[in-house]
């Protein structure tokens, strides 16, 4: 009885689906199935922005002489307990483009007007508008920037397979990776991306990321890739809570440690205590 009822239901469902599909459907079949979950491809799990090169100086970041000097000075300063080069250690969000390293899982949700990159790291949401809008004249800076995208059907199959993205209005402080390779302080970086699935393996997604910034002598392009390992559904998403792991605090331009009893401690010998002039 249950089997006959299921058959009847399926038949009724097919008719209704066809009718309603004609009237109202969001035609998801025009778009690639990129839901995820994605995580940075195995083998590229170093912390460097360009996974094809060694970290730090090995990145050969095309910094201008001015910003190379700034970078090297900040590394020296950090080594003696000064302000850290990597703002994420102070729970400043990684931002774009760094968050696209996807060191924690990422989901890609596609709608007709926007594609959402939902990244566990720093609970980051990127909203990439694909509704044909232009960049506004005044962009409110944000860590993820303002992103406008355009779908492409590069094979003429009638289905989109590539998403081109441009992002502007990225707020600082931010760096390319944990080593602290800096962006220009003018906040005028532009990041363009080409996102597409691997032609041989739909469970691998590529993001060709090009950064144009006044701290660079030329645009800097890296390829980040992600795998979902054949897994279409993740049952157990986590949360990223920076606040639960903060043992260092910033007061002015100085970094201090917090002792197990929550008191301020110096990070280097001879570091002065913070100025308490506002206390009686």
């Amino acid at each position: 009885m249950r089997f006959r009822r299921s058959i009847g239901s399926a038949a009724k469902a097919a008719v209704l689906l066809a009718t309603l599909t004609a009237a109202h459907a969001f035609d998801e079949s025009k778009y690639p199935g990129w839901r995820g979950p994605w995580q940075q491809l195995a083998g590229s799990q170093n912390s460097a922005w360009d996974p094809s090169k060694p970290a730090g100086a090995g990145q050969q970041a095309p910094l201008t002489p001015e910003y190379r000097a700034i970078y090297e000075a900040s590394l020296k300063n950090e080594a003696v307990g000064g302000l850290e080069t990597d703002p994420t250690r102070r729970c400043v969000p990684a931002g774009v483009p760094r968050v696209m390293m996807a060191v924690l899982p990422m989901e890609v949700v596609i709608t007709p007007v926007a594609t959402y990159f939902m990244l566990e790291e720093f609970s980051t949401l990127r909203r990439v508008y694909t509704d044909g809008r232009k960049f506004p004249a005044d962009i409110e800076p944000s860590y993820t920037g303002t992103s406008i995208g355009q779908w492409q059907d590069t094979t003429g199959s009638g289905r989109y397979d590539t998403l081109l993205i441009e992002t502007r209005g990225i707020k600082g402080p931010h760096t390319y990776d944990a080593s602290g390779i800096p962006f220009h302080k003018d906040g005028e970086a532009v990041v363009t991306e080409k996102v597409y699935a691997d032609k041989a393996n739909p469970d691998i997604l590529h993001d060709e990321i090009t950064t144009t910034d006044h701290a660079l002598t030329r645009p800097w392009t890296v390829m980040r890739s992600y795998s979902r390992g054949g897994q279409q559904v993740m049952l157990d998403w986590s949360e990223y809570l920076c606040t639960e792991d903060v043992s260092r605090v910033q007061v002015g331009d100085q970094i201090y440690k917090l002792s197990p009893d929550g008191l301020l401690m110096p990070v280097r010998k001879g570091q002065k205590a913070p100025d308490l002039k506002y206390f009686k």
């Binding site: 009724k12 309603l20 720093f122 949401l125 860590y143 809570l241 605090v249 002792s259 110096p266």
Partner: protein, 278 residues
């Protein structure tokens, strides 16, 4: 009311019609049109029908009433009490459904996302008839399973029932510090539906079952659809970066980057670990 067998068969039929490696077509006309930006109606106290603080008349056990009153006293003295948002702990469930900042719904057959700008909080409400999983790590947002409702047999869903479990972390109902139990056994049930009189308003009847309470506590929160919506991120870093917690005390950071008291006569932080001039 739509039969669950029929709905399941419809979804299965849609799945079989799809080609592998591409997204599947689905009839979004079956689901309510909740697209757009939603903002809360009313202020950020938990039950907007009652005064703030003790006026909420939260049905606490004596133990948790005492915790709440201690939190109020600490806040009156310049502290944060049990409110940990200033330390960038997310509000979590159910507090995140106050709607501190704008949010939106993304509706798909198998899942509905509630995407919040506040702290970038995200809820996934699974509507694919999955069973409750075992051994899921608890999170501030919890694990949510939902079911669409077509109460008038119109063939179109108009409301969403949600149950959320596996909610963890120190949470309160609102900024006054109305506490939830530390045992992580909270269950939250919601019924989100359009307001009868105003199609631009959604109502959410939120019932919290928690061992800090003597009975389930139900409040109704409402949200209004915004026109000319613009989205802005609200990471904790930008909202609360002027607070610093040292030795159990909350201090402020001045505009010139120095420590300041958060309340009158607050003692300066203990600097015992620094070499002090004699």
């Amino acid at each position: 009311m739509l039969d669950r067998t029929f709905v399941g068969a419809m979804l299965l039929t849609a799945a079989l019609c799809a080609s592998p490696g591409t997204a599947q077509a689905f009839d979004d006309g079956t689901y309510p049109d909740w697209k757009g930006q939603w903002m809360r109606i009313g202020d950020a106290r938990w039950d907007v029908s009652k005064p703030l603080g003790l006026g909420q008349e939260a049905p606490f056990t004596p133990e948790y009433q005492a915790k709440f009153e201690a939190s109020l006293a600490d806040q009156a003295a310049g502290g944060q009490g049990l409110n940990l948002m200033s330390r960038c702990f997310p509000p979590g469930m159910p507090r995140m459904m106050l709607g501190y900042n704008q949010f939106e719904f993304l509706i798909f057959p198998d899942v509905t996302y509630i995407v919040q700008e506040h702290f970038g909080e995200l809820r996934r409400i699974y509507t694919d008839d999955r069973p409750w999983p075992q051994n899921v790590k608890s999170t501030f947002a919890g694990y949510s399973i939902g079911r669409w409702v077509d109460a008038d047999d119109s063939g179109r869903y108009h409301a969403l029932r949600i149950e959320t479990r596996d909610i963890g972390g120190p949470r309160t109902f609102d900024h006054t510090g109305l506490p939830l139990h530390e045992d992580g056994q909270t269950i939250v049930k919601e019924y989100i539906h359009p307001d009868r009189d105003d199609p631009q308003v959604l109502s959410n009847e939120i019932t919290t079952i928690d061992h800090a309470l003597t009975r389930p506590w139900t409040v109704t929160r409402s949200y209004r659809l915004q026109s000319n919506a613009a989205w802005f991120e609200h990471p904790c870093e930008s909202a609360y970066n002027q607070h610093l917690f040292i030795g159990g005390e909350n201090y402020f950071l001045s505009a010139d980057g120095r420590l300041m008291p958060a309340h009158k006569n607050q003692p300066a932080p203990d600097l015992r670990y620094f070499d002090q001039p004699r």
